[in-house]
């Protein structure tokens, strides 16, 4: 940070505060306001967007910003750590600036879209809806701007709450509350590990700051960790429990935090909540369950990437989980009937890619894919929302067909998003996904030993998933828009208004072109310096602090090399050849998938071809029985255990308590029988008692 604080940063807290105000307004006065509080939300998110853009511009001008806004509390940890300052703060750097724009933009668009999806459809409870959106936007933006892990965790949980509230928006029905519960619970399970991680990091380092910008006095845990491992020089302050090997301990901490990531970003095995979350209103799915909240996990890994880079094991696991999830979810997407279900599995799959990228050292690739995916997936969801409006809230694709002519705007924008999702050049998804796969490929090739093998396996998963992605995407497109209408509503769909079409148009364009910001293959081929995103994330020269991507990726001294020991390799054709081969293979697979979909489903009267899958069909329909497994865990293991505990508690523990009382009363009833009522008995007992005392005294007194 140079000189005085740029003006934009002074206003940065308002980015989050504005939606919070809109939340309060919607909550308090929503039912007395036009549009149920939507206008406030639109204004607030628009304001946030503008401020985000301002911050973006300021950051690109070479400034970054860390600022403590509110000291939560200062804990006295004693010993080496001393006072632990827990606070809410801002970290504005290229990564967060980019993410701010994504979030506020999509939030704005979703607010607008909701006018069409919710207000125009005459929903009740709109103030609650917009309050939820406002609170979510606030939480998400605060999460993005967090300068420490604790704050990140807090808002990570809060977005979970908003997700819960919005999934369960239609609480009068049975399915949404159930889905909401599941969403919160499954992510909570992940957050459990995350929280241990946060606690562990704070207990280890005495701070949970992500980065040090400007202020050298403050410590940041990735920096300290690197010092402990000797990757960077300096004296570190860290308390490792039980004299554990620091490397191992950091890996454990990283994996614990990863638990939250896996939950929130719907990675295997905690992905099961996301498809259910589609019970929520579609704009919510677009905002929360596609573009932003689900991205929080990935964003978090990127945020503390410097820490993960110190642990090759953690990285390997991230890559493997990501690659596997990408493939695993994609296969499930191919048999789904509801349009939103397809998109849900697709979302899981795409976040798998991002995780793969992060695990493979592709920091920029992951971030890039995060951005493009945010746009095209939000677009697809909103498009699906438009279709759902048209279909009177029937989501079954087998009831659709031929909507292309009836709703051209929706169709073309949806197509744009689909092309991006499938990874067809030159749509945005191609560029980002290509880079993801490329990173995994080259690092897999170059890195020796198990690490490299692991990356190659993950790469293979990802590559295979490309084919399925192409297939399910276009199966969806063809079933929805092409062929003959297969139901009465599809013949005469409900129209949509500007408030639906507008956001679609914006996102449609973005989905098509946003990939151009980072055309790495083109750069490699032509040498043109058009990897703008790389440059952006790397930050201006003034900003090459620990947060910047340069530190992660550039050269032999980068953490990627020093910490994770990743080395880039190439195939026979050198770098350019590798780029080309990689791109060609993935594009080819995508086209193959799309082509298969075209053959099977782009017909007037498409039929299900799932029978050809044989035994695999049931498995896929049932999502690999993952839900069943989790339900089994909940209902057949946990509940009986709880009931058993309850029985034990009531019978044994409480039984003991009641037993003491019963025994006392019982002995009381026995004892009082001594009092027979016969005075001669009393005389006898009295005499006997006296004799007993006499004998006792004589015995102890040694009279005999």
């Amino acid at each position: 940070m140079t000189g005085t604080t740029p003006f934009a940063f002074e206003f940065a807290p308002a980015i989050a505060a504005l939606p919070f105000v809109s939340f309060l307004i919607a909550l308090a006065f929503g039912d007395r306001m036009p549009k149920g509080g939507a206008l406030g939300g639109i204004l607030a998110t628009a304001g946030s967007l503008l401020l985000s853009l301002w911050v973006f511009v300021t950051v690109s001008g070479g400034s970054a910003y860390v600022h403590d806004i509110h000291t939560w509390t200062i804990l006295d940890a004693g010993g080496a750590l001393g006072d632990v300052n827990l606070h809410f703060g801002l970290l504005l750097d290229p990564l967060s600036a980019m993410m701010l724009i994504i979030v506020s933009l999509i939030a704005l668009l979703v607010h607008v879209f909701s006018l069409g999806y919710m207000n125009d459809e005459g929903e009740t409870g709109l103030p609650r809806y917009y309050a939820g959106l406002g609170l979510f936007t606030f939480s998400m933006l605060s999460f993005v701007m967090a300068d420490n892990l604790l704050q990140a965790f807090m808002f990570f949980e809060l977005v979970g709450l908003c997700s819960f509230l919005l999934i369960g928006f239609w609480f009068r029905e049975d399915a949404p509350p159930s889905a909401a519960k599941k969403a919160f619970l499954v992510t909570r399970f992940g957050d459990y590990f995350f929280l241990i991680g946060v606690v562990g990091i704070i207990a280890t380092f005495g701070t949970s700051r992500f980065a040090v910008v400007g202020d050298a006095a403050a410590a940041a845990f990735p920096v300290e960790a690197a010092k402990v491992l000797g990757v960077t020089e300096g004296t570190a302050t860290a308390v490792i429990p039980g004299g554990m090997d620091p490397q191992l301990w950091f890996t454990i901490l990283g994996l614990l935090v990863l638990g939250g990531v896996v939950g929130k970003s719907a990675q295997f095995p905690l992905h099961t909540w996301l498809p259910d979350a589609m019970e929520g209103p579609t704009p919510v799915s677009a905002l929360i369950h596609a573009a932003t909240m689900v991205a929080a996990g990935v964003y978090l890994v990127a945020r503390m990437y410097g820490f993960y880079l110190l642990s090759p094991t953690a990285l390997g696991i991230i890559a493997l989980v990501g690659g596997f999830t990408a493939l695993f979810a994609a296969t499930m997407g191919v048999v789904k009937k509801e349009i939103k279900q397809v998109l849900a599995y697709s979302t899981i799959s795409q976040y798998g890619y991002m995780m793969l990228a992060l695990g493979a050292g592709g920091y920029v690739a992951a971030t890039f894919h995060l951005m493009t995916h945010a746009f095209f997936k939000a677009l697809l969801f909103l498009g699906a929302g438009s279709v759902i409006i048209a279909m009177h809230h029937n989501e079954n694709m087998w009831d659709m067909g031929g909507l292309k002519e009836k709703m051209p705007v929706t169709y073309y924008t949806f197509l744009s998003g689909s092309l991006a999702l499938a990874g067809i050049v030159p749509f945005s998804g191609f560029w980002s996904k290509d880079e993801v796969l490329y990173e995994a490929f080259v690092h897999g090739l170059g890195t020796a030993g198990t690490q490299g093998t692991l990356l190659l396996v993950a790469y293979a998963f990802g590559l295979l998933a490309v084919f399925f992605t192409g297939f399910y995407t276009f199966r969806m497109v063809f079933l929805t828009f092409h062929g003959e209408p297969r139901s009465d509503t599809a013949k005469d769909p409900h129209g949509v208004r500007w408030n639906v079409k507008g956001p679609l148009a914006v996102l449609g364009i973005l989905a098509a072109v946003v990939g151009l910001v980072n055309m790495v293959p083109v750069k490699k081929l032509t040498g043109a310096n058009i990897d703008f995103l790389h440059k952006w994330l790397k930050g201006p020269e003034a900003l090459k602090a620990q947060t910047s991507v340069a530190h992660y990726t550039d050269g032999d001294t980068s953490l990627l090399h020093e910490g994770a020991h990743y080395v880039a390799g190439t195939l026979a054709g050198g770098e350019v050849g590798t780029v080309l081969i990689s791109a060609a293979v993935s594009l080819g697979l995508a086209l193959a998938g799309a082509g298969l979909a075209y053959r099977l489903y782009n017909v007037p009267e498409p039929v299900e071809h799932t029978d050809k899958l044989g035994a695999a069909k049931d498995v896929l329909y049932n999502n690999y029985y993952q839900d069943e497994f989790q339900v089994f865990l909940a209902e057949r293991v946990t509940m009986p255990l709880a009931k058993a505990a309850d029985t034990f508690d009531q019978s044994v523990i409480d039984g003991a308590v009641n037993g003491v009382s019963s025994v006392s009363l019982f002995s009381g009833r026995r004892v009082k029988r001594v009092q027979t009522g016969l005075v001669t008995n009393y005389a006898l007992l009295l005499t006997l008692g006296f004799l007993v005392l006499l004998v006792a005294m004589a015995a102890t007194g040694g009279w005999f």
């Binding site: 009092q675 009522g677 016969l678």
Partner: protein, 101 residues
């Protein structure tokens, strides 16, 4: 001191036990009362005997007290036995078992 003190003790203990036995075996309230008198007199024997043994008058004086009190006790006792008879129609102490446990 012709008779050793132990003999008096044995005598009084015997008397005491006889009285006690009477109490334990008799149901008639009057017999009960008489047995109590026997026991008190057992005490009196001791007092008188050991008064002699110790050479002071304390024991003898006390024996007088005991007798007076025994008389008072009997007076009260007879009164109670009287109302017992009126209420229960008998002087059998085992009749009065209205309260127990």
């Amino acid at each position: 001191m012709a008779v050793p003190a132990e003999y008096y003790l044995v005598l009084s203990a015997g008397l005491f036990c006889i009285g006690l036995a009477g109490i334990l075996t008799r149901k008639n309230a009057l017999m009960f009362l008489m047995s109590v008198e026997l026991m008190l007199n057992a005490a009196n024997i001791n007092f008188v005997a050991f008064s002699l043994y110790w050479g002071n008058l304390t024991g003898q004086t006390f024996a007088l007290f005991t007798m007076a009190l025994a008389a008072a006790e009997v007076a009260i006792g007879i009164g109670i036995i009287l109302v017992l008879y009126r209420n229960f129609g008998d002087v059998d102490v085992t009749d009065a078992v209205g309260m127990r446990w």
